[in-house]
């Protein structure tokens, strides 16, 4: 059975194995009351989204894992302050973006130093895998704000209005960030495809 979470702000984020929306406020109440099992279920409901956003923002899986842990630990610490009627998903996205920003700034490794290695295997499969890597690397090379806007809009599928709310900026600013980011991605992808020919 497919489960989907429809957030309070009206957008739908496809989530194959996630529970439906109804139990979440109940789980939140139980977690607030000190039920660690309920908190663990809440983590299970959101971990994929938190981790993949962190991975796209930070690129390195170990950094993304650290970021996800930090996000959920902050979630736990702020349980008492979270209103059940509020949009928990948006809150978690916001915390994830902030945590990734902090980790990205602390990280000593400069942008562009992660090499994109050729993937062995059948030609078509290898080309697809390599394209994915090229794209992921292109996303990583984007300026911080453009990257966050692109990840939330194009990879998480949030509407620009919601992205603006999460990032704390105007919708117009987010649109221009998304536009600039897409143009850069296209340019990098084109360079890669031209190089293959």
């Amino acid at each position: 059975m497919e489960h989907r979470i429809v957030t309070d702000c009206g957008w739908e984020a496809g989530a194959e194995e996630r529970p439906s929306r109804e139990p979440l406020p109940m789980l939140l109440r139980q977690a607030k009351a000190g039920d660690v099992g309920a908190f663990e279920q809440l983590m299970s409901a959101y971990e994929r989204r938190v981790f993949t956003v962190a991975l796209r923002l930070l690129h390195r899986p170990e950094d993304a894992q650290d970021a996800a842990q930090e996000v959920f630990f902050r979630f736990y610490r702020n349980l008492g302050r979270l209103d059940e009627s509020r949009d928990l998903t948006a809150w978690l996205y916001r915390v994830t973006v902030n945590v990734c920003r902090d980790i990205g700034r602390k990280r000593s490794q400069p942008a562009g130093s992660v090499p994109v290695e050729p993937v062995p295997g059948p030609e078509a499969q290898a080309a697809l895998a390599q394209q994915t890597r090229i794209l992921a690397d292109a996303v990583r090379r984007l300026p911080e704000k453009e990257r966050a806007a692109l990840v939330l809009r194009d990879l998480e599928g949030l509407p620009a209005r919601e992205v603006a709310r999460i990032l704390g900026s105007s919708e117009g600013t987010v649109r221009s960030q998304i536009s600039a980011a897409r143009l850069k991605i296209r340019k990098l992808t084109e360079q890669f495809l031209r190089g293959r020919k």
Partner: protein
């Protein structure tokens, strides 16, 4: 409007973010601009490729590790909290017990200081000019000048009454003189 502005619009339209009003204007431009039409096709291909990142597979093991790490941190923070609370609670309990004891049990009387012992003062050495064989005059304690003894009044002494008679026969002044002031 330059083609670069339309490229920005095409980038927005590739993801469905271009408002309808601007879409009409863009379509009008595309009809007459093959370069921008080519750009639109490349933009759509790039956007489609970008979507492939959405389906990136993540092993469940990663999530298990995340959960385990978070729960360990939560447990760690609880332990730290308990370690903090225990001594604080113990200190508070001791403070309460001491306060209760001080309130219930009468406190010890302040110790009476011991009476000062009067020790005999050692005799000072003889003056340097004293000659052998000469008898040194013994030091006499300095005598305070004797105070004039106070005249004691008998307890039953009556004050002196002075009667002053004025010209007015109706006015008589009595002056009582106490012995206190001599």
């Amino acid at each position: 409007m330059s083609c670069s502005r339309f490229e920005e619009m095409l980038a927005l339209r590739a993801g469905g973010d271009l408002p309808g009003r601007e879409t009409v204007r863009l379509d009008a431009h595309l009809e007459g601009c093959p370069k921008c039409r080519e750009f639109a096709a490349a933009m759509a291909a790039s956007q489609a490729a970008l979507q492939s990142l959405r389906d990136e597979a993540v092993e469940d093991q990663v999530f298990r590790e995340i959960r385990r790490g978070v729960l360990a941190r939560i447990e760690g923070s609880r332990q730290t909290g308990r370690l903090w609370v225990r001594p604080a609670f113990a200190a508070a309990a001791v403070a309460v017990a001491v306060a209760l004891a001080a309130w219930l049990v009468p406190g010890p009387r302040p110790p009476v200081p011991p009476a000062p012992k009067i020790a005999a003062a050692p005799s000072p050495p003889p003056p340097p000019e004293a000659k052998l064989g000469a008898v040194a005059e013994p030091l006499r304690p300095r005598r305070r000048p004797a105070r004039r003894p106070r005249r004691e009044q008998p307890p039953d002494a009556e004050p002196l009454l002075v009667q002053l008679v004025t010209d007015d026969p109706n006015v008589v002044i009595y002056w009582l003189i106490d012995h206190k002031g001599d």
